[in-house]
Amino acid sequence: MALNAETIPMRWPAGPLDIARGEKVKGFTAETAEVLRKWQDPASLALVQGTPINCLVVSWGADAAQQQALKPLVEKGKQAGLEFVGLIEGEANMPAAVAAAKAAGLSAVAMEGDAPANAGIPVIPWNKAAQVRSTSSFPILGVSDGVFPGLPQAASQAGGPTNLPWVDSNGAPLLITRALAPDKTVWIGFAPPAQAKLAAEAYVLAVADPASHGARWVISLDDQLRADLAAKKQPAADTWKKLIDTVSFFEQHKELRGYQPSGLLAVMSSFAGPNFETGEEAVNLLPRLRQPFRVIARSRAASASFAGLQAIFYVDKEAPDAALRKKLMAFVADGGTLFVPSKWPNPEGAPAPAEPYLLYNMRKVGKGRLAVCKEDQPDPYDTVADIQNIMSHRTDILRLYNAPSSNFLYETTAQGKQGVIHLLNYSRRPGGDGPVFFVKEPHKSARLVSPELASPAELQWVPQETGGAELTLPRLSVYGAIEMEK
């Protein structure tokens, strides 16, 4: 089996390279080193036997000792049908490492930067989200700097300017990467916090956060769990089972990977250079405002459909080329609202009345509005809050109540007949009240699927006096998806 969209990867730290790296980290113990030695033993592969995991990502380099140490593991694993990817990081002699990977029979290597020509082995570009490249023809693209999802450990869990507790999510980089490279399967790497002893729910969320955003986490265990699994301790086995059950859950619902983010607002950017930070911040903040949206990569905007959009937030400091500007202004003339930065040259239309406190000057263009930011460096939260304010809640298609530590992602099929709302609870424990969704458009049915439920639960629509209907969900610890059909 070659690596493809069905490949389910797991980080498999083992061998002298990982031990040497670990020894440079404070808190690394002899016990941890011993576990890494155990994990290079082919017998350790029993852990993934019978699970959906079919690919192990091992540390790789030009270092012969590492190659030799992993040889039995790779050979045994391949016999068992496992794929191996060599993750090359901080390697001075890249060509030697790549050649060694090919010689060792690895399926691919993952490495920073552009894939080298004629590597002789598939290369997975493995870059930070801000430098995601899609030049490789390989169907998998890596994001190396994911965050372990949850509530921030250091920061206060109290509400910030968004009123709701901040959450660490991989949603923004993954939505951006999907927009930049829609034909790729995205893998994202992140490790559990150092010296953390994580509850099973932490791993359920670590799987669900990327999976609900159409990507795959390169599963990575904390040192303690790895040690406890090696020692066959029951709590560790229970945690592992929950993790695997969650992976299996998303495999059973893999049709959802074909759905696309949906909303009345689109965030458009090159997501390159200085534009990345501004664009990513908007994509990070909009879920906290409960604003459904989709992301359009500027490089693909010429062919992108604006159908169903009420507004577009054009993020980039530099103006679009003439063709894209013409397309954007046609969208405005037809009734849309376009939000642009302060440097937008020669704004179209005539000034229109606007509340003075807003960050945007409004201009009337045809049936629509051009909103030009008043400030060169506007506050990111105020920016998206004003965009939502100007768009108006009158047109909200979804609203979420009672889930302050949760984000949701709304996606639909291409025809829009089926929709799904992914709900992720970053607190990893059920709230006091069950989440409630308001859905504006009528649907025939709604059912809740979740790794926390033995079977799907039909949800009851409660029509609202002023239109729309509400769905009340049971309290969820981590994740549930509402599958809806019109």
Binding site: G159, P161, N163, H393, F438
Partner: protein, 398 residues
């Protein structure tokens, strides 16, 4: 008198022996609080019975025309807290918030009584959004309120809004915590100030009725956690806890400052005094407490699921010409003693806002000294303490 106490501390009731001083502070005797006229009405739903009930109640008070005819009215409604946090699946307006039909009915009767202009005001949590937008976000139809009378408008008073400058309201007696407050212009523009509250308990002040509703007039741009240091911020961010509850930062320097920085930084101490000051500085001319549908168990559980709450339907409205008197009747309807002091429910951990209202000359909390009309209180009592007992028992059983 302790030699190490300032006069202000003495007046504020701080320090050892404070409770004894609190009961009879010397300065309070100098202020004569007016008695009030309060009426009680039964109303089980927000349906057709609502407007006739209100009209009958206001007739019992002597009619609204004398109060509002030809006048500009500001009606402060109650949109407390983070709007996405509901009590289970119950709608916000059926628990913590003013109900849109109640707001519409009030606007209708005020308009019918001849109000020249009616401005519905509130400072919803941490947003520059207009009240219309807030209502849309709750799936309400603000046009139903706007069309309930002529010249109806909304204003979010959590910031400068449509005004050019903030209006200053000084506490006539000099105040205890703050000598005065800077508020949105709407509170100065109006001839008549209506507090439309909900019949609720509150974690920090025991009850939240028509007096506590006035607390929400303080703009977040001056009294919020991210308020400007020297001048008000442009946009409201966050809540009032840092400045008002805990004094961990002062309001913007442009506003009147706390007079004695040694006073306790405890919400149970500060809020009753601050609320009484606000009610003294911007007097409520018509207090209305809606208890048709509401919630028991504090108005929000602050994320603590162990504090039991329940949506309830007491089916009662209380209205009066004096906020302290109206709140006293409200407390009696809730099954509390309006004369309760600190240490007794609902003021287990806080001072009585009503007591400070009385001491600042706003009104009288003794039911016998006010004129109470309409349905007898005994017929509409909905005991919040009994409900809490029931909820706690159910929680224990679960």
């Amino acid at each position: 008198m302790r030699q190490d106490m300032t006069r202000r501390q003495l007046l504020a009731g701080a320090g050892a022996g404070a409770s004894a001083l609190l009961a009879r502070p010397a300065w309070s005797r100098a202020v004569t609080a007016p008695a009030g006229k309060v009426t009680v009405g039964k109303c089980k739903t927000y349906g057709p019975e609502l407007i006739p009930t209100l009209e009958k109640m206001f007739d019992q008070l002597g009619g609204l025309s004398g109060l509002v005819k030809g006048k500009t009215v500001a009606m402060k409604v109650n949109f407390i807290g983070v709007r996405s946090q509901r009590l289970g699946s119950a709608l916000m307006e059926d628990t913590f918030w003013s109900h849109p039909k109640m707001i519409g009915a009030m606007v209708h009767v005020l308009g019918k009584a001849g109000a020249k202009r009616i401005r519905v005001v509130e400072g919803p949590w941490s947003t520059t959004e207009s009240l219309e937008e807030v209502m849309y976000s709750m799936n309400w139809k603000p046009q139903d309120i706007l069309s309930a009378a002529d010249n109806v408008e909304f204003e979010n008073t959590n910031y400068l809004g449509r005004g050019k400058k903030y209006s200053r309201f000084m506490v006539p007696s000099g105040g205890i915590i703050f000598p005065g407050y800077d508020l949105n212009h709407s509170y100065e523009d109006c001839d008549v100030f209506v507090s439309l509250a909900k019949l609720k308990e509150h974690a920090a002040t025991g009850v939240t009725l028509s007096m506590k509703n006035v607390y929400g007039t303080t703009p977040i741009t001056i009294y919020g956690q991210d308020a400007g240091v020297d001048e008000p911020s442009i946009r409201p961010h966050g809540g009032r806890g840092n400045v008002m509850h805990f004094a961990s930062r002062p309001p913007s320097k442009s506003a009147p400052q706390q007079m004695d920085l040694t006073l306790p930084k405890d919400a149970g101490f500060r809020l009753p005094r601050i609320i009484a000051e606000l009610n003294s500085a911007r007097v409520v001319n018509l207090a209305v407490i809606e208890g048709i549908k509401t919630a028991t168990g504090c108005e929000t559980n602050y994320g603590n699921p162990n504090r039991p709450q329940a949506a309830i339907n007491p089916g009662v409205i209380i209205a009066g010409t004096n906020a302290v008197a109206t709140d006293a009747v409200g407390m009696a309807v809730m099954g509390f003693d309006p004369l309760a002091e600190k240490g007794k429910v609902p003021f287990a951990r806080c001072d009585s806002t009503l007591a400070f209202g009385e001491q600042l000359g706003v009104g009288i909390r003794d039911l016998k000294k006010n004129e109470i009309l309409g349905v007898p209180i005994s017929e509409v009592v909905f005991s919040y303490p009994a409900m809490m007992e029931k909820l706690l028992a159910a929680q224990k059983k679960a």
